[in-house]
Amino acid sequence: MANKRVLRVMVAKPGLDGHDRGARIIARAFRDAGFEVIYTGLHQSPEEIVEAAIQEDVDMIGLSSLAGAHNYLFPRTVELLREKGGDDIVVCGGGIFPDNDISELKASGIKEVFTPGTPLTEIIEWVQENVKPRGG
């Protein structure tokens, strides 16, 4: 019963892509970094992800996608968060993205994207620096 914030993050798999190797690895890495991790499971729509994120009061959503549908799914998630008053929730993405897509994703409100080969420690440090648990 410590009076302190614990970072809560959601790891989500939007769309039909089932490749969850990365999502599972990052979920474990977040746990080992001391975060509370809520995993949505596979095949989630942006609507389902946003609803869950709000119910769980997370500080960040990490979207994982490896099947090319990120250009629709990621911006849609950000848009829905805004509609639901959850625009303080940081959204970042992990997966395979061509360079052109990365700038478009960032312009749509995805705060950072992590491509294959990014060390886990680098991702965790980024989260610790850029995602702050909400104030009391």
């Binding site: 019963m1 410590a2 009076n3 302190k4 914030r5 614990v6 809560r8 979920a27 474990r28 977040f30 746990r31 080992d32 970094a33 001391g34 975060f35 509370e36 991790v37 809520i38 995993y39 949505t40 499971g41 989630q44 609507e47 389902e48 609803e51 869950a52 709000i54 119910q55 769980e56 009061d57 639901k84 008053g85 959850g86 648990p133 909400r134 009391g136």
Partner: protein
Amino acid sequence: MTSVAEKVKAGDVRTVARLIRDIDDGMPGVKKTLKELYPYTGRAHVIGITGSPGVGKSTLVDQMINHLRKKGKTVGTLAIDPTSPFSGGAILGDRVRMQRHAMDQGVYIRSMATRGHFGGLTHSTRSAIDVLDAMGKDYIIVETVGVGQDEVDVVKAAHTTIIVLVPGMGDDIQAIKAGILEIGDIFVINKSEREGTDKTLSDIRAMIEMDPDKYAKGKWKPPILKTEAVFDKGVSEFLEEIDKHWEYLKESCDGKALRKTRKKVRDELAELIKNRFIKDILNNLIKSKEFDKAVDSILNGTIDPYTACDNVMLPILGTRKK
């Protein structure tokens, strides 16, 4: 009334989610809100679900939600997973199995981590139940950690406690009967398509029958049900028993609000005092100079730990210590 309490009463999901977070994180402002919400609690039927890992608790809860929604009832769920003692982090995975209800406004699901709390719940579970109750949920389902520790706290928090087992747990039943079997209001043998269901059923029955109290006249006799949660079999029968238990409870306290039974109030108050004691007294004590001095004295051999304990406690226990 503060706007937070108003919004909780109005069922605002974002406010509820944030308030539960504040309770979980021990934020100082929450006490005021909880005080305001207290008069609006006591309506919901609180169901606790406990059992070993892998028995299918989350899947069963998912099906319960499904059935209750079909009957037009609203549901709040608190799903508790263990915090890693090494990192302080946790993977809260129960939600995955209930996530199909994410878009349903009549369902609120919240994952919680134990954060070092023992007994199967989190320190905040009881207050979180109150929040969901004040929010207007008809049923509140609490899924305990399920890591095999003595998860008996759920009895104090829930009206109806469900023990979930799977076939072929013969030896395990022997091992756990001391703690767990006594607290069950309803027993569920999930995955009952598997071999050994009848044996498990008769084992549990034998164990219940050993307890004469359970056979006293007018007392609730825990039913034992078979379910196959994955295939949605046996779940509606299970829910009927839950409702019967609720009726039994209401009759047994003459229609008064269940929350106001002497035992419930005692438990609740004791729990609050305990938490407060740890938070405000113990935590301050171990930060105090006297505490450090006592440790030094034990280390340099001038005092034994028992005497040191008495000395440190003296200012608190004061005159009552004779």
